[in-house]
């Protein structure tokens, strides 16, 4: 038994937030300069009434159409989000109904950020190998824009909203090989939305501005950039090493590295640290930004469109949790 990726599609919300538009909100700030460093020119942002399930359905409909998938063959829905429509029910259940999938499908959400797509592949592969499902719809859908404070210029520059849909099946164009997974919950405080859930349901209204004039509030997404950067520098090289080990490969046998597209600045630094030549390291964030769990599937789709994927492709996701996951995909 083997598990493959059989199709990838993605959806971006209609509204485009350009650097020109951002600079209107932050006239004192050299948004062009910072945007050049982090490699993002524009990002897409959902409308007020557009939620994770709406984007999930649109991405899945694109996948079904593009790959001519018979929806009655889909037997599992895995949906990764940290911005669900509701506490309950599960977003994947809403998606089953709206996609008119058979009621015999299994469906569940899982809450992960930047490592979510790779984790989703590991779960989907497990379902195939165990004989539980044969055609798994793996969706990532994130509306981080709803977690951001309007004055949070750094994060509003980096993050974009998006959803992706991937079909994992018993045949396809990329075999899902072995995984390396990891977790370190001691980093939880460094990327967090503290209020709104049940530990602290009420808004705290404790907004302050730090020494760089960035808003810090329990009611919005907080990211300690330098701590996340340090985590990445320390753990991503180990993740790549362990992923190679688990796949009995050496770095020279990898034809393309597709990492979570956190920001170009960090990716460049990681690439140099890992001594990966630029042509073997895929970047795709200029027009979408950091779309959290959707960055890897979006990048895989675009790289495939450019005919840049063949043989061993190493994917790696890392971030909020902390949580990280790597895998090798073997392209036909």
């Amino acid at each position: 038994m083997k598990a493959f990726i059989k199709g990838i599609s993605y959806y971006l919300p209609t509204h485009v937030l350009s650097n020109e538009e951002l600079v209107k909100d932050f006239p004192e700030w050299s948004v062009e300069k910072v945007a050049a460093k982090i490699g993002v020119k524009e990002r897409h942002v959902v409308a007020d009434d557009e939620c994770a399930s709406d984007m999930a359905v649109k991405a899945a409909e694109k996948l079904i159409e593009e790959y001519n998938i018979d929806r009655s063959t889909i037997d599992f829905v895995l949906l990764c989000t940290q911005s669900p429509d509701y506490y309950l029910p599960t977003t994947a259940c809403l998606v089953q109904e709206r996609l008119k999938l058979p009621t015999s499908v299994g469906a569940l959400d899982f809450n992960l950020g930047c490592s979510g797509f790779v984790y989703g592949l590991s779960l989907a592969k497990g379902l195939v190998y165990a004989g539980i499902a044969r055609n798994i719809l793996l969706i990532t859908a994130e509306t981080y824009s709803k977690h951001l404070h309007p004055k949070d210029k750094g994060n509003r520059t980096i993050f974009g909203d998006a959803a992706s849909a991937t079909l994992v099946s018993t045949d396809g164009f990329a075999e899902i090989m072995n995984f390396s997974l990891g977790t370190d919950g001691s980093g939880a405080e460094n990327l967090i939305v503290k209020t709104g859930a049940l530990r602290c349901r009420e808004k705290q209204n404790d907004l302050i501005f730090d020494e760089s004039n960035n808003p810090v509030s329990s009611d919005y997404l907080y990211m300690n950039g330098s701590e996340i950067f340090n985590f990445t520098l320390e753990f991503v090289p180990l993740l790549v090493e362990d992923t190679l080990l688990k796949n009995h490969l050496t770095q020279t046998e990898i034809n393309m590295f597709v990492f979570h597209q956190a920001n170009k600045y960090m990716l460049n630094f990681l690439r140099k640290k890992l001594k990966v030549p630029e042509e073997l390291f895929y970047y795709y964030l200029e027009n979408v930004g950091n779309t959290v769990s959707s960055t890897i599937p979006i990048a895989l789709k675009e790289a495939q469109n450019e005919n840049r994927l063949s043989g061993n492709v190493l994917i790696a996701g890392f971030g909020v949790g902390y949580s990280w996951a790597g895998a090798v995909l073997k392209y036909n």
Binding site: I38, E211, G225, S226, E227, F229, N230, L233, M266, K272
Partner: protein, 76 residues
């Protein structure tokens, strides 16, 4: 490790600031170009050049380039 070498590496992280202004006693957070992204550049430079891990708090707690130099030196 020489402090002048550290100052040069520190100055190289800035695009628009005259390298001549960087001295041991320079209060780097008062440099106009300083931003949260520069913090990451300094962390990356220290990791790359000196194989030493510093945190955002180390940078926040240092006033001058020399303060930071002493932190890096103490961890080598």
């Amino acid at each position: 490790m020489e402090i002048q070498e550290f100052i040069n590496c520190f100055a190289a992280q800035f695009d628009d600031t005259d390298p001549e202004i960087f001295k041991a006693e320079t209060k780097f957070r008062e440099i106009e170009e300083w931003s949260s992204l520069t913090t990451l550049a300094i962390i990356a430079m220290v990791d790359d050049e000196y194989k030493v891990k510093i945190k955002g708090d180390d940078i926040r707690n240092a006033q001058s380039i020399e303060d930071l130099y002493n932190i890096v030196k103490s961890r080598m």
